[in-house]
């Protein structure tokens, strides 16, 4: 199975077939065999009588870092067990003690998917796997499989830098975090995304498995099989070493794990030459957000509050600034940065800092005048937006006045707006943020804006419930997709206020002196972005702003923001093109010139990026009107420097890798009783023995049996 098979191609893997015909096969048998093989791939009729495949599932897969493996896996041929539905904690007794048919496959209600239950299941051999159904509505007490102290050890606080703040000693940022995502389970766990499939399983359980009067149910029993065998084990150190051994010695190397990687998206307010170093005296205001999220299950990462709310606000602020009339007069440049892979120990930001230090990036760290980060901004309590700063660097006499200035400008920018910016207490450290990676390298004055004063407002941090509902995105009933795209929700309006304040503050920070009341973020753009990044990527706006060859990435399913191991996940592409659309200009170039700007007479290839986008549908026809967009949007690699340096045991840089796998699938079926199986075997043996004896006697006495006609009979000699 190729790379694609192990990666995204989950559905493609199902029913994989190997057509290998012996060389001696003539054309006719070969054709027949091919027919047979093709038939068996679609699942032959006997298979359809036995199995119901579960198509809409998400597995929990294995990830590895320098020291640990986390996630789940099945045995190589899949794990099977009798289904037991657990909807209350009491139901667990049957699984853990009373049930007569272990091991069990548990269909677990989403509300019970918590640390307490999982610890019980982990400690028993009576469980062969788990299928989790989505709780609707989301669990009211909150649910976060992430850590209580996210990205601990990879931020700025350590025993050498503010030791009193290290390991979330002062503030536990994610108190509902159960850390389930970071546990290792030796049985498979799947998410059932489709309520109908959950219902099918429950029905099968009702029909066959419900215990009667305390005694066990009768065979046949309904069972489930989960396949999610993982190739990598132990840690990134081990699996990367195996990869390199394979690559060195094997003719047909089989990679067992891949580092998480993608691209950061960045652009500048004033164009800069991306192929050479920026003048050290040039100052930049750096604005940052993360664009990835995570959950317990592979490629389930809606991240509405933890990523989308802030990067959408960031995009809107960038648009508002670009629209301002006098931005070209600003003395400082502004850099808009969207970091990928931040969930996994700051992959994107640590790489950008590394590149800046190693002169592999147009900017150096010295160019950064100040840093503004947006970090979970949709769930504001009242109208307060909190400004977090680093207490350690503020002890430095040169940094403190700069931070004070930064805070003042931000506070003043909110005058007249519905938002109040407030400083959190001086003794509180920074929340988990990309800014911490920059602080590790240099004392840069900076601020992190968020909706939480201390611990997160978000009760569903890094979980499958961090959905549009979590940030109160509500649409009236009965809207068409197009109307939903345009409908301005309250969430969009409130994020627009944040974006406006941020844009005005950035204008001031960059040295703008004029009245800022004209700088205004557009709630309409924000609502469109929220719809596109949270509900459906395949909408008319996204269609019109991307390259024609990328239209395949726009799917109708719910967008997910997992960083993954294949570069250019959809989120990266879309942030790139949305940013280009919002901050770029339409330029009158032909398709050829746009695709090869060096051929165009007055295009500045070094300064700008040119993109040929497919444009919106012509209202009078079915064709699109493509055009060329010029922007300063660029990508930079977001692969942890640990892999660049081949330091797979690094404690400084992220070392997260994702294991490979061959097959991920789930199915339910009935299992027969042992008695019936034994009966079948005994009958078979009896028939075989009986026919051997009978044939022997008939053959021995053939002359007696077939004697009248002179010519010997069929069986005689």
């Amino acid at each position: 199975m190729g790379r694609a098979g192990g990666r995204r191609g989950m559905t493609a893997v199902v029913g994989s077939c190997w057509i290998s015909l012996p060389a001696w096969c003539g054309p006719l048998p070969a054709l027949l065999l091919a027919l047979l093989v093709a038939g068996s791939c679609e699942g032959n009729s006997v298979e359809r009588k036995i199995y119901i495949p579960l198509n809409k599932t998400a597995p929990c897969v294995r990830l590895l870092n320098a020291t640990h493996q986390i996630g789940c896996q099945s045995s190589i041929s899949g794990d099977t067990g009798v289904i037991h539905v657990v909807e209350k904690e009491e139901d667990l007794n049957w699984v853990l003690a009373d049930g007569p048919h272990p091991p069990y496959m548990i269909l677990l209600d989403g509300n019970l998917f918590n640390r307490k239950v999982m610890q019980q299941l982990k400690g028993t051999s009576r469980v062969s796997g788990l299928a989790v159904s989505v709780a609707k509505p989301s669990p009211p007490q909150g649910f976060s499989p992430g850590l209580k102290c996210p990205n601990d050890g990879f931020g700025v606080y350590s025993k050498d830098y503010g030791p009193q703040y290290a390991h979330c000693n002062r503030t536990v940022w994610n108190p509902v975090g159960s850390g389930l995502s970071y546990e290792d389970f030796d049985f498979p766990i799947f998410l059932l995304e489709d309520a109908n499939e959950t219902q099918v399983i429950k029905q099968c359980y009702q029909d066959h498995n419900v215990p009667t009067d305390g005694s066990g149910p009768e065979y046949p029993l309904c069972a489930m099989q989960l396949f999610s065998h993982m190739h990598a084990v132990t840690s990134t150190v081990t699996c990367m070493r195996r990869n390199s051994i394979q690559n060195t010695f094997s003719i047909n190397p089989e990679t067992v794990c891949d580092p998480l990687l993608d691209y950061n998206v960045w652009s500048t307010l004033h164009p800069i030459n991306a192929s050479e170093k920026v003048d050290p005296k040039k100052e930049f205001i750096m604005v940052a957000t993360r664009i990835d999220s995570h959950s317990f299950f592979w490629n389930i990462a809606p991240g509405a509050e933890s990523a989308v709310s802030s990067f959408v606000t960031h995009l809107a602020a960038a648009e508002a600034l670009h629209k301002a009339s006098d931005v070209h007069l600003l003395q400082r440049n502004i850099m808009f940065t969207f970091f990928q892979g931040e969930t996994f120990d700051y992959i994107g930001s640590s790489r950008m800092v590394y590149d800046m230090e190693k002169d592999k990036f147009p900017l150096r760290l010295e160019n950064i005048h100040s840093f503004v980060e947006l970090n979970q901004v949709a769930l504001r309590n009242g109208s307060i937006l909190w400004m977090h700063t680093d207490p350690v660097s503020r002890l430095n006499a040169t940094v403190e006045p700069q931070v004070k200035n930064l805070l003042d400008i931000l506070s003043n920018s909110s005058v007249g707006a519905n938002i109040t910016l407030q400083e959190v207490g001086f003794s509180q450290p920074l929340p988990p943020s990309s800014f911490q990676r920059f602080l590790r390298a240099r004392h840069i004055p900076g601020v992190v804006l968020s909706d939480h004063q201390a611990s997160f407002q978000n009760r569903y941090y890094q979980s499958m419930y961090d959905t549009p509902e979590n940030i109160q995105m509500q649409y009236p009933e009965g809207l068409s997709p197009e109307e939903t795209l345009e409908y301005v929700t309250d969430t969009a309006k409130s994020l627009a206020e944040v974006a406006t304040v941020v844009a005005r503050a950035l204008y001031r920070l960059a040295g703008g002196a004029n009245d800022t009341s004209a700088i205004q973020a557009d709630p309409k753009t924000i609502t469109q972005m929220l719809y596109g990044f949270l509900i459906k990527m395949n909408n008319s706006w996204f269609q019109s702003i991307i390259k024609p060859d990328l239209k395949g990435i726009l799917g109708d399913e719910v967008p997910q923001h997992y960083v993954a191991v294949s570069s250019h996940v959809n989120t990266t592409y879309l942030v790139q093109y949305v940013l280009a659309n919002l901050t770029g200009t339409v330029i009158n170039l032909t398709k050829e010139e746009c695709l090869n700007p060096e051929k165009a007479p007055n295009a500045e290839k070094e300064m700008y990026d040119y993109a040929w986008v497919q444009g919106s549908l012509d209202p009078n026809s079915t064709s699109r009107v493509p055009y060329c967009v010029r922007s300063t949007v660029r990508l930079s690699k977001a692969l942890s420097p640990a892999f660049e340096l081949r330091e797979w045991g690094s404690t400084e840089y992220s070392t997260w890798t994702e294991s490979r796998w061959k097959e991920i699938r789930a199915r339910i079926f009935l299992v027969a009783s042992k008695e019936l199986e034994i009966i079948t075997l005994v009958v078979g043996i009896a028939i075989l023995v009986l026919s051997l004896i009978a044939t022997h006697f008939i053959n021995a006495k053939a002359d007696v049996l077939f004697s009248i006609p002179r010519d010997p009979g069929a069986v005689s000699y």
Partner: protein
Amino acid sequence: MTLAVFFGCTFIAFGPAFSLFLFTIARDPLRIIILIAGSVWGWGPWATSGHRAFFWLVSLLLSSLIWFIAVKASDPHDEPLQKGLLIFGVMFSVLLQEAFRFLYYKLLRKAIEGLVALSEDGCSPISIQQMAYVAGVGFGLMSGAFSMINLLADALGPGTVGIHGDSQLYFLTSAFMTMVLIFLHTFWGILFFHGCENRRWWEIVAVVVMHLAVSGSTFCNPLYVGSLVPSYVLMAIAAVWAYMLSGGSVQNLRRFLLCAQSEASPQPAS
């Protein structure tokens, strides 16, 4: 544990055929050649519930191709039409197999002439009845293999039939159906060749009718009694008929049974 089902079904379906092969065919190279040729010839119509070996394959391929084209060309949601097409496919395949059986007879006839020419004493080392029997086993084996092979693969588990409400006994009944089919093909082979040899057309017609009837009875599924009972009844009839044709009689049978009981007093062969 489902290995038990796999081996159980294999023994039921192929145990009798294996015994026949072991005691009556395996010792004679010529018979093995005829068996293999017969089984390959019969590879024809496997779209039906089951049928014979190269000849069997050829007829199988042709009829399944026609069925495949017909199904693809028609509306897949038209249930009665699909059912009709399936019935048509089965009937067509039965007729095709029987046509191939006839061709095989013709071929063997030619082979006998060759064998006679080669032999020193001027008579064939194998009679046409023996050929008929061996060819019948060959056809039967291949048809059995085709009706059973998918099933056996799925019998390995872990699941068993029944999640859509089908009978638990699906594997068991299918194995018994395969067993009866192999027997039927053997007897039909004898009957058919005898009919051809002696120009007794009603025997050939009887084979075709029985074949159609057995294939038709499988449409009673999932009411397995509806297909198994008639098939076994037909098998009994075909067995008796074939026995009579190959030189058997009630008297012989009685002598055989007596002889089997009292091994001490062997009857002289007549």
